[in-house]
């Protein structure tokens, strides 16, 4: 059976099936070229492990600073929704009052004739009456 190139990688990962591993070992013991490729791959595998980046708090902080400055659309919606809703309700109440409530507004009878020139004491007296 022909040995597939990816079997070499899967063998290094330990993900090759048992049957395939047996076949690969057999091939490695008889095929010098394949064995050389396998050993080279093993070496490369080990070498490249040192290129892995180590965890960095500074990196995480820098990312959080960047995302903190610019919230997502959804977050903006969630943040502004209550304010926008409250403003809409207030606007509706004002509009409703202006359009439908204006005609029924009447000045209370007791307030008729109260002049701006009245002193606060006189105004309170009239109001109490």
């Amino acid at each position: 059976m022909k040995i597939k190139e990816e079997w070499l990688w899967e063998s290094l990962d330990g993900t090759l099936s048992e049957d395939q591993e047996v076949l690969l070992r057999k091939a490695l013991s008889t095929d010098a070229d394949l064995k050389e490729r396998y050993l080279h791959l093993k070496q490369l595998h080990a070498d490249m492990a040192i290129l892995k980046a180590n965890p960095s708090h500074a990196f995480v902080d820098a990312v959080m600073q960047k995302v903190g400055a610019k919230p997502t659309t959804r977050q903006l919606v969630l943040r502004w929704y209550p304010r926008v809703a409250a403003a809409c309700v207030l606007l509706f109440v004002i509009l409703f009052s202006v359009l439908w409530g204006a005609d029924s507004w009447e000045v209370p009878a007791g307030m008729v004739g109260i002049s701006d020139s009245l002193s606060p004491e006189d105004a309170l007296e009239i109001w109490a009456d």
Binding site: E6, E10, L51, V60, A62, V63, K66, R74
Partner: protein
Amino acid sequence: MQPSDLELIQASREGDQNAFRQLVVRHEPIVRSTVLGMLGNAPETEEVAQDVFVRFYRSMDQFQGNAKLGTYLTRIAINLSLNAIKARQRRQNRFAPWKDSVQEPMGNDHGKQLEWRELLQWAMGQLVEDQRTVAVLRLVDGYPLKEIAQILDIPIGTVASRLQRAQDKLRALLAPYRIENKL
């Protein structure tokens, strides 16, 4: 028990910055390794790696959860790195005296491991983009071939052949240094 990526994403969508921070901590090593492998130790490397998370943060609503988050972020990291390589090439064309930012390392005083690390980065930088991409995903990130095929959306046979060419070239590039250093 640790919350899953999807739980953290959901919390992040609702504005929980700490949940997003946990996601960054969890996936930062693989994203940085990918970008470092693609771009080498260049000035823009950290910036590009950070942008991967910023990009994800801004488009979090589009993440359906069909792919693993690590795979999804790696795909963004590869795309942004390729963009950075193109931008670098444009700069090099504009300013002819510029050389590739990943230059062949000379002897230094930082010890054998740092020297060898620089050599490996330099060798990676000598690979053409498609070979470098599969080499980084396989050799540095440790993705299985099947997952690399999914990330790059190419057949597994293409991944294997690119990888084969990449490893042959790496072998040729590193051989003189191995002999020199008896590695």
